[in-house]
């Protein structure tokens, strides 16, 4: 089943002095249901832009994007967004932050709190419900951010370099955590990252993009067995894919 269809998506930004920059040019891509797909590429290749287009946060200039066959016209309930920074509301507790989407969408009910607690427990944050974001480490904040994106039970999780602001050790832990959460709550995940190893470790497929204008250069299958752990990095195929992607990006 195809969850997301991207059909010749084109996005042009005009800067203040009227200059036009083509961020994405004729990008086409089909993403399957419950697939984990990563977008990698150098800065300016339009991977974050593509994510925002799927999320309906930006309008397209040409082409179209369909989610479950319906054209994306703006933000919708089928997607949940995880940002590079945790973007938690400093004045709300972790529990209130996780409930925030439901509050905005007006769908809070008696069971919401229990569900939020379950999600927090799933992300290893039980006991932190009533803490404020400032009291949590960067990794824990980002876990809360992921819980928040899962709260309204979206079919699709859009993640924009979610671990980019974390230190290297936390980052590795978080990728394995994410795989665990994804196993327990299968979703279609579109994951933007700068880290090739992270992309290979997590994904079913890796989309390598190239800049100026942003285009899809190649799509690679990652035929590594699941469930995956760090041990997978010792697999020869893992290294092979990492090298292949690096070569595609840097030409070396």
């Amino acid at each position: 089943m195809t969850a997301i269809t991207i059909d010749k998506a084109t996005k042009v930004f005009s800067s203040r002095d009227g200059e036009e920059v083509v961020a994405l040019s004729d990008v086409s891509l089909d993403i399957g249901e419950n697939e984990f797909i990563s977008l990698v590429g150098p800065s300016g290749c339009g991977k974050s832009t593509l994510l925002r287009l799927i999320g309906g946060l930006l309008p397209l200039n040409a082409g179209r994007i369909l989610i479950d066959g319906t054209e994306v016209k703006g933000p919708q309930v089928k997607t949940g967004f995880v940002f590079q920074k945790a973007t938690l509301l400093e004045w709300k507790t972790i529990l209130e932050n996780v409930l925030f989407p439901l509050k905005i969408m007006g769908t809070l009910d008696a069971k919401s709190k229990d569900k939020a607690r379950e999600l927090l427990a799933l992300a290893g944050l039980d006991g932190f419900e009533n803490k404020y974001p400032a009291e949590l480490s960067g990794g824990m904040q980002q876990r809360a951010g992921i819980c928040r994106a899962l709260m309204h039970d979206p079919d699709i999780l859009l993640m924009d370099e979610p671990f980019g602001a974390l230190d290297a050790l936390t980052r590795e832990d978080m990728s394995i955590e994410l795989l665990r959460i994804w196993r327990e709550q299968p979703k279609t995940i579109v994951f933007v990252t700068h880290s090739i190893a992270e992309a290979v470790l997590l994904s079913d497929r890796v989309v390598v993009m190239s800049p100026r204008p942003g285009e899809v250069k190649q799509i690679l299958d990652i035929p590594l067995p699941r469930p995956r752990s760090f041990a997978v990095q010792k697999d020869a195929r893992f290294q092979e894919k990492v090298d292949e992607i690096r070569h595609l990006i840097t030409g070396k």
Binding site: G55, L57, G80, F81, F83, Q84, T87, E90, W91, A134
Partner: protein, 268 residues
């Protein structure tokens, strides 16, 4: 004394380490007062030039009832003017930040009102509004409201793009964006403005009293100096600064109680 200190050095020392932050300024202040007192006595400085702290204390406490009455009068002007500035600043800042048209239309005017020296405006207001409380309240308001508008506007506009995008991704309405994201985010800014404004409100009230009043601490300072009653003038001035400190602290404590995360954030 010394042998007690040597027998139990650590508790005393610990007490000193712990309360150094509060004790040190108090001790410095007392030393300055002492030095002041001694200088006035030793050099026989005439009272109309510089009264001794003891003379100020005596003159003020002797007339405590009178000083209290004037204090209440000033406080009333401060509270009314400050309240008015809050009532007008907050909605104005919301309007400025939610509509570019309002911002473009009003902001230059706002800056214009700030370039007018309030002291120069005061006599004109007295003629226009009559020799009553109103011109004093208006001057207090004019002095206090601008920094408040600027602080609230800055706060509402400095919300990171991420948070706005977060709201958008859940299809937040403009009202939800304002109430759920922008306003709470601006709380620390609003309180920083409220603190500046309350200190300025005291200044505004005194300026108003200098120009037109038959009551208030500003009036008391003027009449006292007219008769060279310097100790009382000094006393009134000190009561004024005390009022400023207390009002400032009330706002600071209100922030801590109502929005604990806000003061925490500023400390970071």
């Amino acid at each position: 004394m010394s042998h007690i200190a040597t027998r139990t050095p650590s508790p005393l020392r610990r007490f000193w380490m712990r309360s150094q932050g509060t004790l040190l300024p108090v001790i410095t202040f007392l030393l300055v007062l002492l030095l002041w007192e001694i200088c006035v006595k030793v050099f026989a400085i005439p009272e109309f030039l510089l009264p001794a702290p003891s003379a100020i204390w005596l003159a003020t406490t002797e007339q405590a009832g009178l000083v209290w009455g004037h204090t209440l009068a000033t406080l009333r002007t401060v509270v009314l003017g400050y309240g008015l500035s809050i009532l007008i600043s907050l909605p104005l800042a919301f309007a400025l930040t939610s509509s570019r048209i309002v911002a473009n239309a009003v902001y230059p005017l706002l800056i214009l009102t700030q370039s007018i020296p309030k002291v120069a405006l005061a006599p004109i207001l007295v003629i226009a509004l009559g020799a009553n409380e109103l011109p004093r309240v208006i001057i207090t308001f004019l002095v206090a409201f601008f920094p408040l508008v600027v602080a609230v506007t800055t706060g509402l506009l400095s919300v990171p793009g991420d948070l706005i995008e977060l709201g958008r991704s859940y299809r937040a309405t403009r009202l939800q964006q304002m109430v759920q994201i922008r306003m709470p985010y601006a709380i620390p800014f609003i309180f920083s403005g409220l603190k500046t404004a309350v200190a300025l409100a005291v200044v505004g009230a005194v300026v108003g009293e200098f120009v037109t009043s038959d009551r208030g601490l500003g009036y008391l300072i003027q009449t006292s100096t007219a008769f060279f009653r310097m100790p009382l003038a000094f006393g009134a001035m000190l009561v004024l600064s005390l009022m400023g400190i207390v009002l400032f602290q009330i706002v600071a404590v209100a922030e801590k109680l109502l929005f604990p995360w806000s003061s925490q954030q500023q400390a970071d």
